[in-house]
Symmetry: C2
């Protein structure tokens, strides 16, 4: 086929390329293949190593923010753990990124009624002056309200965005709320604000603030940015109801650090007959600094490592390679995921599918794909193995996880095993992200789904597609 033809097909029909098979339609799984997947699934429920893996990571490493002291410890831990688990190939790939150092953080309402506030700096925020900065609060219900207001109402003040994140199983309240965190400082600065405080992007009512990344748009003067815990945001609103000026003093000593090179750590179970074809199981190795990174993303690390380990222990070797990729620095800008897509761009067509676990340790309730249409008959078979785990069939619009977005955009087929995230945002990006938040039974259910899915994808005769690059 010539290039023009390919382009035409891509533009008009978005029909994916065939990966390895001459036929465009993959073969149905055999009964024996499905039975092995079922065995893997059932074995995972009683015999997964996931709990011990995440216990080890949170105990022996703990917080591991990109570029922090915990970062190289996490890399060493991952290499050692892959070795312990007897993976066939272990390697690490460099990922370079700018770093950020949290420093100290404190705030208090100075008037009308003095009270301390629990805050945490947002990742990438600049510092305040050493002694803090003081300003009157101007409150907005959302970033949209801030965008619409006249700059004269904001100039010289501390913006407070009080938007509350709603709770949903699929976590879609996050997307509705996170704009205040990521872009609030830019919008506030454009109107002359001296700092910004946001209500934590979280569904809990604990006095622990949620951190998370933010950035300043080019050309905008950076201003300090922090999150209030939810009870502190309530307190601020109650204080504002008195119709007296609310003055806050806030102090952040955060700073930009040196550029740092960390590593995405990879462990493989080598395929028996198609070792150069890859089933990618992803999670991210880094975490925020406040908790021990149990649900974000120690659980994901444990799930994908344990799933691959179960496959390794089977008497039947998988045909394709199972590649567990523990991405570097997801939290501060998807650095590991971007770099993987770049470094492996020529090899991505050999990635039959990518799947990532990065939404805690709640039970998986839905299986979605982004497969070529001619492969959807095999998703039904895969689902028949997952269904006894309480997993329903989703659509064919899966987005994968954050670290495989860039590989998906380059064409890789993906699946999503959606976890129940009803309480995920109670703990996400807080000091409360600790081991006790993980339910071992739910964790094993995750491993069961990942192991069965990965096995089948490694065995599949044919492929599930490779797509035209997304814009």
């Amino acid at each position: 086929m010539n290039k023009l033809f390919i382009s035409l097909i891509m533009c008009c029909f978005a029909i994916p390329f065939s990966l390895a098979s001459a036929s465009d339609t993959p073969e149905l799984f055999s009964t024996s293949q499905l039975q092995i997947a079922e065995k893997l699934r059932d074995n995972a429920l009683i015999n997964s190593k996931a709990w011990s893996i995440v216990e080890s990571l949170t105990t022996e490493v703990g917080p591991r923010m990109g570029g922090s002291k915990g970062d190289p410890r996490a890399v060493l831990w991952a290499e050692k753990k892959f070795k312990e688990l007897d993976f066939d190939v272990i390697q690490k790939e460099p990922v370079t990124f700018p770093t950020w150092i949290r420093g100290k953080e404190s705030a208090q309402i100075v008037s009308p009624y003095q009270q301390n506030l629990v805050i945490t700096a947002l990742g990438n925020s600049i510092a305040t002056p050493d002694k803090g900065l003081e300003g009157e609060i101007v409150q907005f219900n959302s970033i949209d309200e801030l965008r619409e207001v006249d700059a004269s109402k904001v100039k010289g003040k501390i913006v407070f965005i009080s938007k509350k994140m709603p709770r949903f199983r699929d976590g879609h309240g996050y997307g509705e709320t996170v704009g205040g965190r990521s872009a609030g400082a830019t919008e506030a600065s454009k109107k002359g604000a001296i700092a910004i405080l946001i209500r934590s992007v979280g569904t809990d009512s604990n006095r622990l603030a949620h951190t998370g990344n933010m950035s300043y748009k080019d050309g905008v003067k950076p201003i300090p940015a922090a999150a209030l815990s939810n009870p502190d945001a309530d307190l601020m609103l109650n204080m504002l109801k008195r119709n007296k000026p609310v003055v806050v003093n806030m102090m952040l000593s955060s700073s930009a650090g040196e550029e740092y090179t960390s590593y995405t750590v990879i462990g493989e179970i080598t395929g028996s007959t198609k070792p150069d074809e890859v089933v990618l199981l992803g999670a991210h190795l880094d975490s925020w600094d406040l908790g021990t990174g149990a649900i974000d993303d120690g659980a994901g690390v444990a799930i994908v490592m344990a799933a691959a380990k179960l496959i390794k222990e089977m008497p039947e070797k998988p045909k394709r390679t199972i590649r567990v990729v523990l991405f570097a620095n997801e939290e501060q800008g998807l650095f590991g995921g971007k770099e993987y897509a770049r470094a492996h761009r020529d090899e991505l067509r050999k990635h039959i599918v990518g799947v990532e676990s990065d939404f805690g340790a709640g039970k998986i309730w839905k299986f979605s794909t982004k497969f070529k249409l001619s492969a959807l008959h095999v998703t039904k078979q895969i689902h028949s193995v997952l269904e006894p785990l309480g997993i329903e069939m989703g659509n064919n619009k899966a987005s994968g996880g954050p670290d495989i977005i860039h590989s998906r955009k380059a064409g890789m087929a993906v699946a999503t095993l959606s976890q129940d995230g009803i309480d995920y945002f109670d703990y996400h990006h807080t000091a409360n992200d600790t081991l006790d938040k993980i339910d071992p039974e739910s964790l094993s259910q995750n491993v069961a789904a990942y192991a069965a899915f990965s096995w089948l994808m490694a065995e599949l005769e044919g492929d599930v597609g490779f797509f035209p690059p997304e814009e």
Copy 2:
């Protein structure tokens, strides 16, 4: 009656004195009295001011530890609020106590795996050296285990008591666990420990440590004492499982302050025909310093103030005086309660009953008394008014609340309106003790019970007893 006779009766039969009535048996309430109580109850459910009171206290004062900056602000607040609510008599009574200043607090595991720990100093703890102190952890499952161990195992180490508080509706797990907090430092010091860390006495799994009072036995060398949050206690246990020495560095800069005189603030609705006889409704005005003192004991303050206010608003005045007593400094040693019993010792016989709200804002589920036996027929009538609120009848062994223990021990009859405390110890003595933990509907149910009960006790013809002093 001569003194000997009185003593004889006291010793042999513990028959309580009659308070004001010639007959020992109080009269049954009239239908009209019960109807007024029912009206009060039902009115409270839709029209109580309790929420606005606790919102005001937590917003306008917030933390108010005895002797801290918040203490005089709370006293002023209480006087002003009683005035706003149109109480007939408002007064304050001095209470003097030693003070304690928290200072800074931090800890980290130094080896085998470096991790920060969330701790909080226990009230009354001494400081560590400025740069902290470092020692190996020696762990005990309980204070009893510590008591039994040979001193050589403890000498020079940091004791860690890991006992976990169990969850019960009536909070009895607290009593089973709190010994490690109050007496642990003494026991550890006796065996040569250099410091003590306890698992927080709390039922939650939040990364917020629970403070609370402790003391050193005379003659024992004081050592620094702090609580670990529950997830940090779990982390410590997981670290210890590795069978390598766990070394911790901890820093507390707490100190003893000056002696301070605060005030118990009292507001009264004066009785119409027996103004010198008192129905005492208690709560404590102080709080710990970490939260805003919403459930401990802003809720109690709001419940008793709002209940008395509803009685004040009735067209029918109560016969006896309703005295709302907001005790000073309960948290650091029941100072307000002790002083009240001392200062009012000659008047206690005129206290027909005392009742205190100091267990959060959960719904009341049980009504108990410590009344003379000949008065128990009226408790059945009172219960008939409380029962529609979902309140069952308890026994006649009520202990009152912490601030009225000393008055009870001096002879005062008491009642207990037991609250559902299933989640009370999730938040107790932590930064998480904030307004959002109070359910407005449950708060109103409390007010309903307190208002109805107080009204009936103010109306009762006869008394419910005055008891021989307890040892």
